[in-house]
Amino acid sequence: MSDEENTEQHEAARQGGHLDPLGTNTEIGRKLKQFYDGIVSDDVPDRFMDLLSKLEAADSGRKKD
């Protein structure tokens, strides 16, 4: 086992058994979530809704044949 894994396990033990080296109490962990959640909260472009509707329509068309 590497030292790194050891450290992580110590941290995990300290945090009540939850392995969270990127938790919100680290600057890196917080920025990572801020970066990612910023994209997640963007509006979903219409093209995806259109695409799924087309796929669905194509499917039901096939089933009728």
């Binding site: 894994e5 992580e8 997640v40 979903v44 995806f48 796929l55």
Partner: protein
């Protein structure tokens, strides 16, 4: 609700996270959206191979990731742009407030090799377990752990921040207040 309607709803629900993962991989929102589109089409076609009750999000992330790497192989290394325009545009400027700016963070994230970047995103942002991330990346759990750990160290180096987790939440409060930046 029909299975297919349910599946459609579930796919729709997964789009925001797929886009975020796509941007993390490609660092480009147009390319990311193309990747998401491919993923949705593939997922729809492979619908019957998805086992209801298992983790749809992990299944979709796997498809998107495979698609990304197969496109990358096709295009050579064009997708990787570590010294390119994007990096220049997002060059790291010294922060005026002493707090880490989001653009600085994006630029730092871009400097990571893909394998480390995807690992730290899956674990630190997408909310997957190490086991799930290992499955998505088709590698051992220990490999994911070491990639995350290297990514974290590298980001801390680039951004010159320390791993405050070692000092607990009080240190963060002091840091935030001391920086005078507010968050």
């Amino acid at each position: 609700m029909s299975d297919s309607l349910q599946f459609k709803q579930d796919l729709l629900g997964a789009i925001p996270s797929l886009r975020a993962f796509g941007v993390s991989l490609t660092q480009n929102s147009d390319k990311a959206d193309d990747l998401v589109q491919e993923t949705l089409v593939k997922a729809w076609d492979k619908q019957s191979s998805f086992q209801p009750g298992t983790n749809l999000k992990a299944w979709l992330f796997t498809i998107l990731r495979n698609e990304f790497y197969s496109q990358m192989r096709k295009r050579g290394r064009e997708v990787q742009d570590s010294d390119g325009a994007m990096t220049a545009r997002l060059a790291i400027h010294p922060s005026q407030h002493g707090s880490l700016d989001l653009e600085d963070f994006r630029a730092a994230l871009e400097k990571l090799p893909e394998d480390q970047r995807e690992a730290i995103i899956l674990i630190g942002a997408s909310g997957f377990s190490y086991e799930e991330a290992a499955e998505i990346c088709n590698c051992a759990v220990g490999t994911i752990k070491s990639r995350v750990s290297r990514a974290r160290t590298r980001l801390q180096d680039i951004l010159k921040v320390s791993g405050e987790a070692d000092y607990g939440p009080d240190a963060i409060a002091a840091h935030v207040m001391g920086s005078g930046a507010g968050v």
